[in-house]
């Protein structure tokens, strides 16, 4: 084959992906973890001396938000995470493969919505949760079961369509049980 055609073919592949990228709506990934108990883990916290143990969250639903200061998409969803926290949602921010100084500065700059910040420096806990990439968000209920997972930045529509109804249903369940 004529080697001068190669750039054209490579470009065609790139354009195909860009075209698909354009039509993509952020869609939900089926996670085998949904309906399963969340992996238990204990990690040091971001503040010096702090520790986080997933057992301490038993009894109340919370969001586990996987984030990092180097992640541009995290900044994208951050205002929404802040809003959720202000609305009273308990949010645990798993700081994923990040530098403590960068992470602290990032939170100071953009606001800290997290009740706890376990630090997953080597990504070990991320592997147990099956983290594809940053950001990811899990909803874990009072019994420690994963009820919902979102890959990529949260947006208002996902929150309205999926997260809030789920939370409402869980609250009703909680009252009846």
């Amino acid at each position: 084959m004529n080697r001068f055609v190669i750039p054209l073919l490579a470009f065609a592949v790139v354009v195909a992906f860009l075209g698909v990228g354009l039509t993509l709506k952020p869609r939900e990934l089926p996670s085998p973890l949904i309906g399963q108990p969340a992996p238990a883990f204990a990690l040091p916290g971001l503040q010096p001396g702090a520790r986080f143990d997933s057992a301490q969250m038993q009894g109340r639903a919370y969001l586990l938000n996987v984030w990092a200061s180097w992640c541009a998409a995290c900044l994208d969803e951050h205002p929404l995470i802040n809003q959720l926290a202000q609305a009273g949602m308990r949010i645990v921010g798993l700081n994923y493969k990040d530098d403590a100084g960068d992470a602290t500065a990032w939170l100071q700059r953009f606001g800290n919505p997290y009740a706890h910040i376990p630090v997953d420096r080597d990504g070990r806990v991320g592997i147990e949760f099956g983290v594809y990439g940053v950001p990811e968000t899990y909803l874990i209920d009072a019994r420690g079961v994963i009820r919902f997972k979102h890959t990529g930045p949260l947006n208002a529509e996902v929150v309205r369509r999926e997260l809030l109804p789920l939370l409402g249903a869980m609250r009703r369940d909680g009252e009846s049980s």
Partner: protein
């Protein structure tokens, strides 16, 4: 009325561009001088019309005409004048207009300053530029009209994004666009050569100053962006591997490879097809950047308001421009392919290594930037590829690049002996190791071997570039070392072509840049502190005193301003009253958009920056405060400016402006004789810009 005038001028510009594309292209094909002659005046007319449209939009901004949708979205009656002008390109539509204006300006410059290029070739170049203009005019007129009216008119505007209300950002986009768009000239040269089926050393010589200039603008634009991120985003970093930063960096890498490959084409007729491909790539990556930033396929901190319809338009445009030119390349390039012999130790080989490494860097950045997108398309996962990936790859590919840069420029064309070149490099190698390993001793912190290695590399680039300059000016470029005497050497230095000086300055810039990056990475100190009024803190050998926070009011924001005094920590730790430098960081809340903004206070110096940013108020009088000590961080931007200056100097080389006939023949002839070491070589070796 004025906005309608602008709209009308824009529509007329589209018509002129259509004429500028169609007539000369056919004229050059059928050899009709009258049709060919349309190109230059049409390009100037197009420039005039776009300038009128741009002036109309600027007038609407200055007068605060909030009946124009775009003005209402990006301005406000309380916005200071300078940002009202910068606001013209503060959003999607206006930045497209700026892009078109700059494209028209480059076209006009090509029309005016290429009298030494045969009309038929210049006509093809201008026609290709007009084809690109048509795309942008259609983009604006069909999907993103900046002159769209708003009924009823808004009472006041929504204000310019506060992040953009900054002098760095007012200048950054025009510079960056001048670079992006400048590569369209190199692209047009390449496509014109493919269309004409003729590509020789003269062609490369004509293309070089344009490529150099575009590259200079892009270098300055990227450096400004980095500087802005450093002081305005309040993170204290200078590069974040954000998709938008990568979008500007990829054309830079391809453009840098192009500069070097053009050197081989201009002097030896080597790498012809490859040079054309790089010219296509540099501009394609500029367009790809525009697509990534505006279509919303990638999330980024500074993506423009995104819209899939716009994304589709750019994608189609990208497909036509890049797909078309690559198809043309596949069809015509086989005829251009050059088979030039050169020895394993030769300047051609050095340039080849340069191109391979730059190609690898560019591919690495492209992969890292597009990987999230590809993964999204395949699996639906949305992720960010982080800093660790890019930093690792840059260390792995960049270090050999710097090593080869020092040695490569010293080599002669066609064939050189390692036994000649290596002894000349011993002194700079030894000196750079000594300086590199001694320099970290001057720092107060613990000795870092990594820093010593990085500094040695930076010094190596600096010293070997100086040795190369002396060698090439002193006759080392010739057949033998006969011009070695001291006096002859100095005279040679004075007579050395601008391109050699340009290359030296740019390569020195790379060395300065490496030194800056090494120091900043190894020895920065970043402290997050809680300080009450009157408290002191020690960071990086400096003492900082916090004197509380007061309220201030700007034209369109309210601010809390902190008062700090910093001075070198004395031996006893005593604070000298009256001495030291005042630092006043602010936390601003812009009145219209309500975003809080951090304005860091920076005391800049050649060997260190002191950086203070105000965090949150904790309790009465106590604030969270970030204090950074950033050694040699200025050298990063200084290095970039030196690179750009080098490119500029090289662009002035007189040999690039010679007329067609003589240039072609004598370059080829001279090259073939120079190899035999018989007669004097061609007047010099243009060899601009950095690695």
């Amino acid at each position: 009325m004025i906005p309608e005038l602008g709209h009308f001028a824009l529509s007329l510009a589209l018509l002129v561009a259509l004429a500028q594309a169609a007539l000369p292209l056919y004229g050059a094909f059928a050899n009709l001088p009258a049709w060919i002659a349309v190109a230059r005046p049409a390009a100037l007319a197009q420039l005039l019309l776009v300038a009128v449209a741009f002036a109309c939009l600027t007038a609407a901004f200055i007068s605060g005409d909030f009946s124009v949708q775009y003005v209402a979205d990006h301005s406000n009656s309380r916005l200071p004048l300078i940002y009202r002008i910068a606001g013209v390109w503060g959003g999607h539509e206006g930045s497209l207009l700026l892009w078109s204006l700059i494209l028209a300006a480059w076209s006009g410059a090509v029309a005016a300053f290429t009298r030494h290029i045969p009309d038929r070739i210049a006509a093809r170049i201008l026609a290709v530029l007009a084809l690109i203009s048509i795309g942008f005019f259609l983009f604006m007129l069909l999907t993103s009209n900046p002159f769209e009216r708003l009924f009823p008119a808004a009472a006041d505007g929504r204000d310019l994004n506060p992040l953009l209300q900054d002098i760095g950002l007012a200048v950054h986009p025009p510079m960056l666009y001048a670079g992006y768009v400048g590569f369209s000239v190199a692209f047009a040269f390449a496509v014109a050569a493919l269309l004409g089926g003729r590509l020789d050393a003269a062609w490369a010589r004509w293309a070089r100053p344009w490529t150099n200039l575009a590259w200079c603008f892009l270098t300055v634009g990227i450096a400004l962006g980095s500087w802005w991120a450093y002081y305005e985003l309040g993170w204290g970093g200078w590069w974040f591997w954000d998709p938008v930063e990568n979008a500007s960096f990829m054309p830079w890498l391809a453009g840098t490879a192009l500069l070097h490959s053009l050197a081989a084409t201009a002097n030896r007729g080597a790498f012809k097809a490859w040079t054309v491909l790089l010219a296509v790539c540099a501009f394609s990556l500029s367009l790809l950047g525009a697509f990534l930033v505006r279509s919303g396929v990638l999330t980024s901190v500074h993506a423009f308001a995104t819209d899939p319809a716009r994304g589709l338009f750019i994608l189609i445009f990208l497909g036509i421009v890049v797909g078309g030119s690559l198809a043309l390349y596949a069809w015509r390039a086989p005829a251009l392919a050059s088979y030039i012999r050169f020895a394993p130790v030769s300047r051609e080989m050095a340039l080849l290594i340069n191109n391979v490494l730059f190609g690898a860097l560019c591919f690495a950045v492209l992969t890292g930037t597009l990987y999230p997108l590809v993964l999204d398309a395949l699996t639906g996962a949305k992720i960010s590829v982080g800093e660790p990936y890019f930093n690792f790859l840059f260390a792995v590919i960049g270090a050999p690049l710097a090593l080869f840069m020092g040695a490569g420029a010293l080599l002669r064309w066609k064939r050189d002996r390692a036994a000649r070149a290596l002894p000349k490099l011993l002194a700079p190698a030894a000196a750079s190791l000594v300086v590199g390993f001694a320099w970290p001793l001057s720092m107060a912190q613990a000795y870092s071997v990594n820093a010593a290695l990085g500094l040695s590399l930076g010094c190596w680039v600096v010293f070997s570039s100086l040795v190369t300059l002396i060698d090439r000016a002193g006759g080392g470029d010739r057949g033998g070392d006969r011009g070695g005497g001291g006096g002859a050497r100095w005279r040679g230095l004075l007579r050395a072509p601008a391109a050699v000086y340009g290359m030296t300055v740019a390569h020195l810039g790379v060395g300065v840049f490496i030194i800056g990056v090494t120091f900043t990475n190894a020895y920065s100190i970043e402290k997050d502190l809680r300080l009450s009024s009157g408290e002191m803190a020690q960071v990086g050998g400096y003492a900082f005193r916090f004197d509380g926070v007061s309220a201030h009011r700007g034209p369109n924001y309210a601010a809390a301003r902190g008062e700090f005094v910093a001075q070198r920590a004395a031996a006893g730790g005593e604070f000298q009253p009256g001495a030291g430098v005042a630092l006043r960081p602010e936390k601003r809340t812009y009145l219209v958009q309500k975003n809080p903004m951090t304005e860091a206070a920076i005391d800049a110096g050649l060997t260190r920056d002191l950086y203070v940013a105000l965090g949150e108020e904790l309790e009465r009088g106590a604030w969270s405060v970030r204090i950074y000590y950033k050694p040699f961080i200025r050298w990063i931007w200084l290095g970039a400016l030196l690179m750009a200056a080098g490119g500029l100097v090289a662009a002035t080389d007189k040999r690039y402006r010679r007329r067609a006939e003589s240039a072609t023949t004598d370059a080829i002839a001279a090259d073939s004789v120079a190899a035999d070491h018989v007669s004097p070589p061609p007047p010099g070796r243009p060899q601009p810009a950095l690695g």
